[in-house]
Symmetry: C2
Subunit: 256 residues, 2 copies
């Protein structure tokens, strides 16, 4: 299995603290060593880094831990291969363009007997069940809406699509188009919303602490979503299983 | 205007020597400082790095100059903005998926009164004439071929599409799907094919030399394509204007 990390904020925020702890699970505190990747939105623009090396030692992961890239929406993934060989084209997150927006997707889980009909313009480059699921989701979104709908409408469509994929196995995923971040869990995924007054957090995977009050303003809101809690002195909330969750401006948005 | 750099090889090759000289033009020996990008194919997989900073000083460009990423097809770009603001989404190279392959495109030039009808599944994320031209090329390739055709057939279609865009202005571009690299020039673009016996090359933009015989085998073939010659002791061949050139396995392929 793999692990997921997401961040959604109301102001461009540096993910280095979270990524530093997360990437320890790719070789040090965990065995998710079959590649990794991270994507940062800057408005509509996107930086995507993928690597076949393990994130705990990769020079590119080292750059990400040291270089403050500020973003409102981040999705990262460390891989422990289930389907698809260890290769660059099988590293998450995956990216496709739809309606003039970049869409970024990462999956934790394993889908069995999942062979949807692809008949449009989205085809996998690699050989994972995850990229296949993403291509099918993009195809079905494109069929369901003539152009970019509201975030709420998108959430309803995504809920329907996730319900159709989930019977095939574990389907924890993160998705973003730069405007918002969607999260879905059938097993392990939890989140935290940080806001004023900010406190000090201690990572679980390495002996590092950060006092968020030194690098935030009282208006900042940051939601972090991860497979297993990243810090040992905060309360992380497990997701309700089988439901799409929408994060916008650093907050979980209530869906009807 | 911008500048282009491409590399096509018959074995995964390190582009650091060429990129080191090329990136000096983004702030030191040239004023192409409005962002940059580079894409490396590893088989079907792709690493793409884009940055709004200038390539001569960007920490990510520094990583690329120091970290040996070996690739058979590389496309890089340094930007001096003509159309579209300085933003991440306007940095080349651009990427789209078609027929289960990543396609990478970078453009040097300026297209005027170019407003093609986009009616399929490829839309620009940013606001450059370049990404618009790329989306139109992807759309027309998808319409012209039901699935991945031969490289020769693709070259014929690309020749037709380039002829239809070129009346709108300067249209120098590089395109790759990981199998081959296509180059087209209406003004400045030149290339070199390096093969056994390899010699020492001296960069034009910084005082750096490399003896290629120390890092190659006699079977290696490497073609480098660039807006203006990168070395001062080698003979670079200007492209015939208005014609698509196909590079495969490090060699220019004759097209009928």
């Amino acid at each position: 299995m793999c692990q997921l990390l997401g961040m959604n904020c109301n102001t461009p925020t540096d993910v280095r603290f979270s990524f530093s702890g997360f990437s320890q699970r790719a070789g040090n505190t965990g065995d998710h060593t079959d590649g990794w990747g991270i994507a940062f939105f800057e408005g509509k623009g996107l930086r995507q880094f993928v690597d076949r090396e393990q994130a705990s030692t990769s020079p590119i992961a080292q750059l990400i831990r040291n270089y403050a890239i500020k973003s409102e929406n981040v999705i990262a993934h460390i891989r422990k291969a289930t389907q698809g060989q260890v290769a660059l084209e099988n590293c998450h997150p995956f990216v496709r363009e739809l309606w003039g927006f970049n869409w970024v997707f990462a999956h934790n889980g394993n889908l069995v007997d999942f062979a949807p009909k692809l008949h449009s313009h989205f085809y996998p480059v690699g050989t994972t069940d995850s990229e296949l699921a993403f291509c099918w989701i993009m195809q079905e979104l494109a069929k369901s809406h003539a152009g970019m709908p509201t975030l709420h409408e998108l959430s309803i469509t995504l809920q329907d699509l996730a319900r159709r994929i989930s019977p095939h196995g574990t389907f924890n995923f993160l998705l973003s188009n730069g405007q918002a971040l969607w999260a879905h869990a059938t097993t392990d995924l939890c989140f935290i919303e940080r806001r004023h007054p900010f406190a000090t957090a201690h990572l679980s995977d390495e002996d590092v602490s950060l006092d968020f009050s030194t690098c935030t303003t009282p208006d900042d809101r940051v939601a972090v979503i991860v497979t297993a809690p990243l810090t040992k002195n905060e309360t992380w909330t497990p997701f309700e299983k089988g439901r799409i969750h929408l994060f916008e401006h650093g907050c979980l948005v209530a869906l009807q």
